[in-house]
């Protein structure tokens, strides 16, 4: 367990030393979301309908853009190899890394999402559904992103490749996350969507760290 907390603490400390860099995903998310009213038009009615989808897609893109750095710097300076050689389970390291990524990008998005809900003229219950969907869904993005980051380690144009590889797998989370808000909007319970998101989270939590560990072994051998 100590390796887990050590990796987690190290990643958080590194992020704290590079504060601007750590805030970039949130800044990207903010700018991307704010572009939609310009592109689609400022009618409140339209914005309210597209808001959950916009927030989810931008959250997805922000997670994918930031996750490329998850292993890249450690790989470049050789510390990743040391981590894998130190005898601790690589699955544990992968989980700690994904958790650090979620704390640095997923959590701020969840905090900011209600604000964007208000800017897009959403009702209180819809904002609550959106936020709760993000709570369940953003860890899935960090976990899947970790697999992609490990696979594309040190490749030319690895970032674009990662997006091509991982985004198709993120579609279910996107559907049920945005669907929860749609259900609340049309006056139905969002319980089913939450259950499916929760199930997706459990499945990714059980499989993604192993896949990431396998990908790290392939990429560093």
């Amino acid at each position: 367990m100590s390796a887990f907390t050590a990796v987690l603490a190290r990643d958080l400390r590194l992020a704290a030393r590079r504060r601007v860099e750590a805030l970039l995903p949130v800044a990207f998310f903010t700018v991307a979301v704010s572009l939609f009213p310009f592109g689609v038009g400022p009618e409140a009615q339209t914005l309210r309908i597209i808001a959950p989808g916009v927030v989810w897609v931008c959250a997805l893109l922000a997670a994918m853009l930031s996750v490329t750095q998850l292993y890249a710097t450690d790989h470049a300076d050789g510390s990743l190899e040391q981590m894998l050689l130190c005898g601790e389970s690589p699955v544990l390291i992968a989980t700690a890394k994904a958790l650090a990524h979620w704390l640095l990008t997923g959590l701020p998005l969840i905090v900011f999402a209600p604000l964007f809900g208000l800017m897009f003229d959403m009702r209180g219950e819809s904002i609550a559904a959106l936020t709760f969907g993000l709570v369940l869904g953003t860890p899935i993005l960090s976990l899947l992103g970790g697999v992609g980051a490990a696979l594309t380690l040190g490749l030319r144009s690895g970032g674009v490749l990662l997006i091509l590889l991982i985004l198709p797998l993120c579609i279910p989370a996107l559907i049920f996350g945005a669907g929860a808000v749609g259900a609340v909007e049309s006056g139905v319970s969002a319980q089913g969507h939450y259950s499916l998101l929760g199930a997706l989270l459990i499945v990714t939590l059980l499989l993604a760290p192993w896949a990431t560990a396998a990908a790290l072994r392939i990429s560093t051998e």
Partner: protein, 245 residues
């Protein structure tokens, strides 16, 4: 000589070279028969008129693309787990053909959808999950092409292919789980066929024609990959000299 001797790239190269002309012949003959029955013999559909005839290309292509994905994931996984060289090469050779059939099924589906549903595309569960299959094929191809080290490319591709394999049952059951626009399965192993016998015959013949084509192309591509990867082996030099003479 056991069956497994063909797992050696050199043996496979010879066997595939012998099989390819036969497979091409089978593909052309079967496609000619299947298309003739489908377009001239099979009756006009009671509800869809003539437009249903695209079924003879659409359905076999969709079947094959899904089976090819599973085959690709299977051989890639075998190559990763047991370090058998030929399996990884076969997996790499299957990917472009699978992507092609996925594209054909999507495109013919759009041509079919326009007259029957009045639209080229809907975001229905079957169509969407099938589009993801195309993305998975493209992702596999892009990843394996981006990595220069052969072994790393094979193993990384195997991981992606295996993870993506969860999508195939989702496509298959999508018409059952979500009752959306795409029609349910018309052909089933257990129930009596819900279409005229000639239609079913033409569709099955077209399926065999596509299979023969798929095998022929995959074998040709595997042979090329074998030559490329074994270029330093003695048998390749001998083989090429024999072919040139």
């Amino acid at each position: 000589m056991s069956f497994y001797t063909f797992a050696a790239p050199s043996r496979f190269y010879q066997l595939a070279g012998w099989a390819i002309p036969w497979l091409w012949a089978a593909a052309i003959v079967l496609a000619a028969i299947g298309l003739y029955i489908g377009f001239f013999v099979a009756p006009t559909d009671a509800t869809q008129g003539e437009s249903y005839r695209i079924i003879f290309i659409h359905v076999p292509a969709a079947w094959i693309s899904m089976v090819l994905y599973l085959a690709m994931a299977f051989w890639a996984g075998i190559g990763w787990a047991f370090k058998t060289r030929l399996s990884s090469m076969v997996a790499r050779a299957i990917a472009p053909t699978g992507a092609l059939f996925t594209f054909i099924a999507l495109w013919t589906g759009a041509f079919w959808g326009k007259p029957t549903w009045g639209t080229w595309w809907v975001w229905d569960a079957r169509l969407t999950s099938y589009l993801i299959l195309l993305f998975l094929y493209l992702g596999y191809i892009a990843l394996t092409e981006a990595i220069d080290d052969t072994r790393r490319a094979d193993n990384a591709g195997a991981l992606v292919a295996l993870v993506g394999a969860v999508n195939v049952p989702i496509i298959y059951f999508s018409v059952k789980w979500w009752n959306t626009l795409h029609q349910g399965a018309t052909v089933s192993m257990t129930a009596a066929p819900k279409m005229a016998q000639t239609m079913l015959t033409a569709m099955l013949i077209m399926t065999f024609a596509f299979w023969a084509y798929a095998f022929a192309v995959v074998f040709m591509r595997t042979r090329a990959i074998v030559l490329e990867r074994e270029r330093d082996a003695e048998w390749v030099a001998k083989q090429l000299k024999g072919e040139r003479a």
